[in-house]
Symmetry: C2
Subunit: 406 residues, 2 copies
């Protein structure tokens, strides 16, 4: 086993929640942490230096998108992702598995749901094609995946090993193994197969990783298994038995909040205490509480930044913790979005001005709204850490109206 | 005559160029100055606080756009444009005359050129209509203009008096009188009429301004006359005889750089020494030199920010003082845009990263490129002020390859 890069600092008395420190070559992340999503090397509208000013500790970029443009060779030649983006702190990259399936085939077919792309019956190691369209597909086999670029339709191939090499070149502190994306609509049979192959890929990824120059990088495994208890438990046990310094929870988390909570319960119970647990792609405020209560150490999610661009900004006490600045009610509202917020936007601008910028289609709006939403989530994580230390997480969740405990 | 809010500090020994100080209720502007264009209350991608960090002294907003959305009542209720936008420094608003003609009618007819909207023969005080389209037009008369909103097609009316009231409500430090927009394609007859009516409007505007509560605001007149020497001289003399504390140079500046230079020569020669001269809508780097050499004290122009969003960034020594980051040559270029630039973008990011952001359609690109272009022009104005003080403006122009003196 690798030496764990993670210290559990404090545990809540009545649950699984914990604070910790995740040590990376570019600094330490206090956990639980929120990881802003900088898909192509920047948060949309907020460049890396401004992200630092928001108190972000770590950001996650996307291997799929950076592979397609500008390409890992360009980034490696320029000194790696840290130098390329100007983000000097801890950095993660996801493996690109999710995008291969959701964008590579989904976009080409005009479907948004991964489930539509892979009919449940089409499982097997032979290349799978979308019926009626032989020009536009993802080919999946034991060796990896072939997929078309969303940019120019060119063919690319990811294998467990090539994704390790790709991320070596990009140079994040934490890389993720190649996985296969499943959907809540996939059945048991499909989900099981889509778990077992990535288990074999995980071993191959670790072997490739061990052979390459480490440079302080870590490789995390990804637990799969959909919303099926025995699969989640098997996947967690399998991944935990391998030499990963940290583990991510991926794949489908079910069709409801209740299923997601159950998946987290089953999974975390089988993960080693001493290794960090990252939950992929989840980050609504109530989900953050649910995950942290179940022992998750970090989450990444593009939702906070995506909804900001649509006018939706966080406000504690509002329905779903948010208001939409498009609303005519804010036309002449001199108040900041959130009077208790210390972000740049709330210190400088009124709801009325922000609504005007939104309605005018001004680029500044995306930045100002994104700054507020990110700052809100980053402050939330800091208060969650304090609450865990004070064993007061349930009180904080009640303040946020984030549902009953567990 | 009002007391002039302007001190000439230093004159170049061999020309008309001068440095000065323009005093406003929100601070002093060192001239010659560049005035960034914040059409709807923000520079696109650069919020007012960031503009201040770039060294900008003053910004100009657009009465037409702010009248249509969110409306001057909303802004007045919220404490005026300074509070609304968060820009605490000197601020100008233009009268909206230009937009009434170029957007109100031009957009409705899908034509970009003002000249297409008003055939030369259609001069007179009766409402003018676009042949073949009675639903979509600008109606111009002695009393002012009626025009359709580009947002919802609703009818609005600007009179010399209403534009004063509008800008009183907005609350900039410097307001401009309503004028009529002409084009280089208009003939002598048309241009003369389009000058004489605004001369009458100017007197009405001054009377309305005198009756309203001053609150430290100034009203500037606008010299018209196209590229016709006698008209320019007549307009400059007429405006100079009125009680304006400062004068803007508007209307058509001709069909070539040479004509523009001649217009500036004729106009400035008839303007009072002790009052500031603002050139509307001109701001290419070589034009800035040409204007300053002829005694212009400030210019506003959206070009620096608009070209930035298209990938074009200033670099001294490059053709037309700019490079385009779309160019494949910058794909793996680790250099900043301009190694001699002190802006945030040049201190933090490479051409390769910026090109990647541009090609990825990232919002951050517009901000980072705009910051560089604005900082470059703002620094240029500072070095122009130093060069005038040192009587070395021609040397500076040669360094910038901005054409031969005069």
């Amino acid at each position: 086993m690798s030496e764990a890069p993670f210290d559990v600092v404090q545990r809540s008395a009545n649950g699984l929640a914990r604070t910790g420190r995740l040590h990376t070559a570019h600094g330490t992340v206090e956990t639980p942490a929120f990881v802003p999503v900088a898909t192509r090397g920047t948060i949309k509208g907020v460049e890396p230096d401004a992200l630092r000013a928001l108190g972000a500790q770590v950001m996650i970029c996307n291997s799929y998108h950076l592979h397609l443009a500008p390409g890992e060779e360009v980034i490696a030649d320029l000194g790696g992702l840290h130098r390329f983006t100007g983000w000097a702190g801890p950095m993660m990259t996801d493996s690109g598995g999710f995008q291969v399936f959701s964008l590579g085939a989904g976009k080409a077919h005009g479907v948004g749901k991964v489930a539509s792309v892979f009919p449940d019956e089409a499982v097997g190691d032979a290349p799978r094609r979308i019926p009626g369209d032989e020009n536009s597909l993802v080919r999946l086999g034991e060796d990896g995946v072939e997929f078309r670029s969303i940019l120019d339709g060119s063919w690319h191939r990811f294998s467990p090993e090539s994704v390790v090499t790709l991320q070596r070149r990009l140079g994040p502190d934490i890389a993720l193994v190649l996985d296969e994306c499943t959907s809540p609509l996939h059945d048991y049979h499909y989900t099981k197969a889509a778990m077992e192959r990535p288990h074999r890929w995980a071993e191959r990824a670790l072997a490739a990783f061990a052979e390459s120059d480490a440079r302080g990088q870590m490789l995390f495994g990804i637990v799969q298994g959909g919303a099926f208890r025995d699969l989640r438990e098997e996947s967690a046990r399998t991944l935990a038995s391998l030499d990963f310094p940290g583990l991510a929870i991926g794949g489908s988390l079910g069709r409801s909040k209740a299923e997601m909570h159950a998946v987290l319960d089953w999974t975390v119970a089988r993960l080693p205490e001493g290794r960090p647990r990252h939950l992929l792609g989840i980050g609504e405020i109530e989900d953050i509480f649910a995950a942290v209560r179940r022992g998750v150490d970090s989450v990444d999610c593009a939702s906070a930044t995506r909804i900001a661009r649509n006018g939706s900004v966080f406000l504690r006490g509002a329905p779903r913790h948010r208001i939409n600045l498009r609303n005519a009610a804010y036309r002449d509202d001199p108040a900041p979005i959130d009077a208790s917020c210390d972000c740049f936007t709330c210190r400088h601008h009124s709801r009325a001005y922000l609504r005007h910028l939104y309605r005018s289609g001004e680029l500044s709006f995306a930045r100002l709204a994104t700054i507020h939403n990110l700052r809100t989530v980053i402050r939330l994580m800091a208060s969650i850490r304090e609450a865990i230390a004070a064993d007061a997480l349930d009180d904080l969740a009640r303040e946020w109206d984030a549902g009953p405990p567990r």
